[in-house]
């Protein structure tokens, strides 16, 4: 009924599945030695300034990440999910977006946040439990970090559909991990986005583990990118530790979406070199040899080799980034250190105009819990 009254705005003909399949090999522009090889269909449109910027964001992301871990170990954050090793995947993807575009992140997207101009300390409030975030999503077009696995994919698909219905020229990118591909929400989001040709990029950072569950226990699909065919959208696959590859692939997907050709799924192959979160011990489920292997593919080091060869990296620029990183770190400490907690009851505000009964019950339950905590504390 609703389908009849509100059909997809364009009805595509049958799609040849072969046109949607990911390439046999992941797209890689920089090899492990940092040498650039062009790949057909994925041209680079970057200037020197862009190369330097990509590097800058990656280094800043790593510094911000380390500072967040420190804050957690100083008791200032309840938990933190590190992105160490995933800088290229996140930053290359986000760098392909324009100012009017939007990002709907998971909880690990501090790198993408930096690209969107979000002050990282402001986002960390979620991990401190002080508030959902202190950044302005409307100004930065960067959504709230999403802790429930994959829910942000729905937000992104819906937002993209809305933008399309409103005739707005914007593209939405949502990040999630390999683990989220087993959840219902990303599945529904991808299906709906494809049906409605929503300008939405589903950017999967396949970091090999969903906490401790390896990819082999996650899917029987040939690759995650192959899943795109089932939804009727193209699947891209790239070396997630090659920032030029993640950018070039995202560029194609973003341009395609902006042309009105619908969503894409990108699988970036990467690895988190840190624990899943500060509450995790990865040595229980992966070997030191494996970690060593991925450390040799460090995305920052590889790009650095390339930039040095191109003469784009000098001590002045490094010092400039270092100073910027110190500034970020200092602001993060300022923002987070001993930041006061608000009234927990505020959790219940800003959600419903007419709260359902169950909601009132939960509210009363929390109020009692707080009261009994206060009694217990005496």
């Amino acid at each position: 009924m609703s389908a009849a009254s509100n059909p997809p705005q364009s009805v595509p003909g049958p799609v040849d599945p072969n046109t949607l399949l990911p390439p046999d090999e992941p797209v890689q522009l920089l090899d492990d030695q940092g040498t650039l090889h062009e790949v057909e269909g994925f041209p680079l449109d970057l200037k020197d300034e862009d190369f330097r910027n990509l590097y800058r964001y990656m280094v800043l992301a790593r510094r911000v990440d380390k500072q967040a871990i420190n804050l957690q170990r100083q008791g200032q954050l309840g938990v933190y999910a590190s992105l160490l090793g995933q800088e290229a995947a996140q930053i290359g993807g986000a760098y392909a977006l324009d100012e009017q575009d939007w990002v709907f992140p998971s909880y690990r997207e501090m790198g993408a946040a930096l690209v969107r101009g979000v002050d990282p300390g402001k986002v960390l409030h979620l991990f401190r439990g002080t508030w959902l975030s202190n950044h302005d999503p409307m100004a930065t077009h960067f959504g709230l970090l999403s802790i429930p696995i994959g829910t942000q994919a729905l937000h992104a698909a819906g937002f993209a559909m809305g933008a399309k219905f409103d005739g707005k020229d914007l593209v939405v990118m949502t990040y999630f991990g390999d683990g989220a591909t087993s959840e219902g929400d990303p599945h529904e989001a991808m299906n709906f986005a494809a049906v409605y040709d929503a300008p939405c990029i589903f950017f999967v950072q396949n970091n090999q583990y969903a906490i401790s569950v390896p990819l082999s226990k996650q899917t029987r699909a040939p690759t995650i990118a192959h899943k795109a065919v089932g939804y009727g959208m193209p699947g891209f696959r790239c070396d997630g530790n090659d920032v030029l590859a993640t950018y070039a692939v995202a560029r194609q997907a973003v341009d395609r979406a902006r042309r009105g050709e619908g969503p894409s799924l990108i699988e970036a192959l990467t690895y988190r070199m840190e624990a899943h979160t500060t509450a995790d011990d990865p040595t229980r489920y992966r070997t030191p040899e494996e970690l060593e292997e991925w450390k040799r593919r460090d995305p920052i080091a590889r790009f650095e080799t390339f930039l040095e060869a191109e003469g784009l990296l000098d001590d002045d620029f490094r010092a400039q980034i270092d100073e910027e990183a110190r500034g970020y770190a200092a602001r993060m400490r300022e923002e987070i250190y001993d930041a006061p907690h608000g009234d927990p009851m505020e959790l219940f505000e800003h959600v419903y105009v007419d709260p359902p009964a169950s909601y009132e019950e939960q509210k009363a339950m929390l109020r009692r819990e707080i009261a009994s905590n206060q009694e217990g504390g005496s």
């Binding site: 100083q74 970690l291 650095e304 250190y337 819990e369």
Partner: protein, 497 residues
């Protein structure tokens, strides 16, 4: 005096309560920068380097390697005047941190060391001492190593070369809901764990009412209500460890067919948390009604003689105020000797009926805090006046809440004197795991046929609810009739003593 500030050991994982100092990375008198690692600390999760939040001079290190530090207790004390204020040095504290410095090179040893440092090292062996807190990740497992890492010397792992063959214990299966026995450590959330610790409650003694048997704050409070000493000695008597509380508690709430909760105006309802005595009562009643296939029978008795006897007893001495209930209790003790099935319990583990050749007589007492059941211990060894005296003492103690936990446990048979509410009859709930409960109605003047004529007599109704698994109508009615006969003819009571 120096501007000293304590760096309190934070919760390094999620829900951890302590950490063990593996090694100090600074010494007293050292200058430290913000974010400079000061100690290697091992938690149930992993070994991590803990960075200082302050810049200054180290005044004190709280503990030796190998010692545990509680979360929230000082780890290091730092003199802030010894160095520039915090923040000025933010993020400067990683002189060897190639990985986070622009231009940090790959493949160099410093890089390897950094990444290795940032990755928690494996512990040598696992046991079951994980905290059981499973919030994010795969839980704490049994990660604490029993032995010190590195054997005789505490050696930091070689840079870039974590132990070659870490033992990776298989993830422990979470306790299944529906399992009847708790194996391993009790589950509780950190605030509850802390509450238990503060109150000196051993969580292993507490039954968990939450999902998967998680122990809740209410469970601790209820445990304390039963056992103010907090040592849990008295608890098992009223709460069987082998019961599936999740199932039991779930059924306290109507499962299906319950009318949907409609939210009336806040002024039209009052919500009272079910906790403490109320919750204990709710649980006890639920267990009883769920487990016991009970039957009830009742009889009217002429209590005129009992009434007269009571007056005589009061007149004969001034020590003890004797209530009719005390005499009925004495009759019960006598009757339970003749009908031991009514003074029994069912051992479901061994599938045996356990006849008890002693009588601990419970009685339901309505108090301001709710229903309590004090127990007159070894009532079979007490005289009528002795029972009356204990009854009075315990009733008072229950009312002013001075009754001790062990005075409310261990009952073998219970009386419910609902007559005090001015009613005649009732169908009492058996005080599980006992076999029966005697209900005692009010004594009131009624017409009664005596020798073919209607007379005004003191009349009372008695009822007995009994566990039909343990005894049948014969025993239960026989016992009830015995008590009734004693009330009607105290001579019979005397004959039985």
């Amino acid at each position: 005096m120096a501007n000293a500030k304590d760096f309190l050991l934070p919760d390094l994982g999620e829900g951890l309560t302590e950490g063990e100092i593996v090694s100090w990375l600074v010494a007293v008198g050292d200058s430290v920068e913000v974010d400079q690692p000061v100690a290697e600390v091992e938690t149930a999760k992993a070994v991590v380097e803990v960075p200082s939040p302050f810049a200054g001079t180290v005044l004190a290190l709280h503990g030796e390697p190998g010692q545990e530090v509680e979360v929230g207790k000082p780890l290091v004390t730092i003199d802030l005047d010894g160095r520039p204020a915090p923040d000025a040095g933010a993020a400067e504290a990683e002189p060897t941190d190639a990985a986070t410095r622009p231009g940090g090179t790959i493949g160099g040893s410093s890089e390897d060391a950094e990444v290795a440092d940032m990755v928690p090292q494996p512990t040598e062996e696992a046991d079951d001492s994980g905290s059981g807190n499973v919030l994010v990740g795969y839980g704490t497992g049994g990660g604490r190593s029993k032995r010190r890492r590195g054997g005789e010397a505490v050696t930091a792992p070689a840079a870039g070369a974590p132990p070659a063959a870490p033992q990776r214990p298989a993830p422990r299966a979470a306790p299944r809901s529906g399992s009847t026995l708790r194996t391993g450590r009790p589950l509780a959330k950190p605030p509850v764990r802390k509450l238990a610790k503060d109150k000196g409650v051993d969580l292993a003694m507490v039954a968990g009412s939450g999902p998967d048997g998680i122990i809740t704050r209410d469970d601790i409070e209820q445990f304390l209500t039963r056992s103010p000493g907090g040592n849990g000695e008295a608890a098992p008597a009223t709460v069987p460890p082998s019961e599936d509380y999740q199932q039991l508690l779930a059924s306290e709430v109507p499962a299906s067919g319950a009318p949907p909760f409609e939210a009336p105006g806040a002024d039209l309802v009052t919500r009272i948390p079910v906790k403490g005595v109320r919750k204990a009562v709710a649980r006890q009643m639920t267990i009883s009604r769920q487990q016991i296939p009970e039957a009830t029978t009742w009889v009217d008795v002429d209590a005129t003689e009992l009434w007269a006897l009571r007056q005589d007893l009061i007149a004969s001495q001034s020590e003890v105020k004797v209530s009719p209930l005390a005499i009925i209790m004495r009759a019960c003790v006598a009757g339970l000797r003749d009908f031991p099935e009514v003074n029994a319990r069912l051992d479901t583990e061994t599938n045996e009926i356990v006849l008890q050749h002693f009588v601990n007589l419970g009685f339901a007492a309505q108090t301001d805090s709710g229903l309590m059941v004090p127990v007159i211990k070894r009532a079979d060894q007490l005289s009528t006046l002795g029972i009356a005296s204990e009854l009075n003492r315990l009733a008072t103690a229950a009312r002013d809440r001075s009754v001790k936990p062990d005075e409310m446990t261990g009952g073998t048979f219970t009386l419910s004197n609902y007559g005090t509410f001015g009613v005649d009859g009732g169908s009492a709930v058996i005080n599980w795991p006992e076999a029966a409960i005697l209900g005692v109605g009010r004594i009131i003047d009624r017409p009664w046929v005596v020798d073919g004529t209607i007379q005004v007599r003191k009349v009372q109704q008695l009822s007995i609810a009994f566990d039909h698994r343990i005894c049948d109508g014969g025993e239960a009615a026989g016992f009830l009739r015995f008590v009734a006969d004693c009330i009607e003819s105290p001579t019979k009571l005397l004959a039985s003593l």
